[in-house]
């Protein structure tokens, strides 16, 4: 187990430039294709599991992903059983094979942290890069606007 304790990623609004690199590295981390240009030409490429919030006329931007809640609403609403807590209760994972794209999870997530992968009609949510170790967004943010912290 690479994640022995519960961790969450926290955004720092003051540092975020709104460059969307976290989204791009997130896509790449969840794809076999590592060449970013080729990746973007793939018809069925994964969707980012992180979302950069920005608004015209506002200087503030920040990136947000699943909070891995202690009592996740998304699990209670998932009609297929795709959303589950890992054994140590540290992580909420979506089994993309099971997901049927009903978007019930999007209806209940208090953060709006689940995105729709319209290519495949499945929910796209952060898995803290469980297989990779360190989340790709945290590692690659040029301005250190994302921080992985134990909670």
């Amino acid at each position: 187990m690479k994640n022995p304790t519960k961790k969450r990623i926290f955004p720092k609004e003051e540092y975020c430039l709104g460059c969307h690199l976290c989204e791009i590295y997130c896509i790449s981390a969840h794809s076999k294709e590592k060449n970013l240009v080729k990746l973007f030409k793939m018809p069925n490429r994964p969707y980012p599991r992180i979302l950069v919030e920005e608004k015209e006329g506002e200087y503030i931007t920040f990136a947000l992903q699943c909070r891995h809640c202690d009592e996740p609403y998304c699990i209670t609403a998932c009609i297929s059983g795709a959303l589950q807590m890992d054994q140590n209760k540290h992580l909420i994972i979506c089994d993309e094979e099971k997901c049927v794209g009903c978007w019930s999870c999007i209806l209940v997530c208090p953060y709006g942290a689940i995105r729709r992968n319209d290519n495949k009609k499945i929910a796209s949510k952060c898995d803290l890069c469980i297989e990779r170790g360190i989340p790709a967004c945290v590692e690659n943010c040029p301005n250190e606007a994302l921080e992985l912290r134990e909670v």
Partner: protein, 418 residues
Amino acid sequence: MKHVIIGNSIACAGCIEGIRRISKEDEIIVISDEPYHIYSRPLISYWLSGKIPTEKIYYRPLDYYEKNKIKTILGKKAIKVDFEVQRVILEDGQEIEYDKLLIATGGKPFIPPIKGYPKESVFTFIKFDDVKRIDKELKPNINTVVVGAGLSGLKAAEALIKRGCKVKVVELANKILGSILDEFSAKKVKDYLEEKGIEFYLENSVVEILGKNKVERIILQKGEELKVDILIIAIGVIPNVDIFKDTPLKLRRGILVNERMETNINNVYAAGDVVESLDLITGNQRVIPILPNAYTQGKIAGINMAGGEAMYDGSFPINSIGFFDIHIMTGGINNPQENTEILEKWDEDTKIYKKIYIDDNKITGFIFINSFDRTGIIVDLMRKKVNISEIKHKILSDNFGLLDFPREFRREKIFGGV
């Protein structure tokens, strides 16, 4: 401690997972009249349409019972509970003792009195067995009729169209999806479904089913006579409380429970479509038959049954449902009061419709068509009864998000407890 659960569906899964949080060892016995591994009721229409194979209809992995050390008694109906001696009696005479009992018998189809009912090829639409039977008789181009233009009726109609059948829908009300949509959106969705081939008979009902053993024709209240190969009755579900009528268990429409999901009888809990619970928006106790409620209530019951402490704070109806390429999300009330403030927006190009009901500066209901992303933020504002006066003007904007909130509120949300 010996836990017995009647019903093997969503509330049952919540209960098992609640109990196992507190105790890995307590004995758990699950009884159901359905012979299947725990499956997801909402997925029966996906299965019928061919969208998912049988392996995917299961709500939990096939080793779920084994991993959670559950003993199952499947395919047997519980016919009585003797609350005095704490025993469940099964149809074959077997008696199962319990220390704690969860009643999770869910809903059963409501079938109004119709002349000529029952007949072969007339089905309901709530169980895996229902769609398995329908599937056996389905052929392209046959005439199918669905009674009820609610959520499950229209899901049935969609599946039938996808299987190449001719589909007619008969509905008593003057609009489809009456419980969740307003006139405007109901009309939009109806127009769209008509384009997909569904024919509607609104403000109408079936008065007689004709045919020898099998349905052949039906007669509608307004006089039409329709040729029918398959008739599906999907008017709604009512709490499945038959075996508890005339017992000391307190019932109204559904079983009455407190915040710990306890009934009026010692050591007996109830959860899911069979109970009445608090509607956070209206303040009434009522049946809210949706999957997230069943799971959450089951979980709360399970934690309490195993000796933990958990309280249910109530909920309100929410729905996320798609038909072909149109998607609907709704929540809360759909009958505005005189003073209800209404925000509304329709975009002809994108076919996006958003409507929000606000009472006393709090959101009490919404209807979103083809608008999905971040709707959970709205539902959370409803759950927490947040005063939205400061953000009201932004709430219908296309990229509504956490940036629209005051900085302190946003920080508390992201950095505060989850």
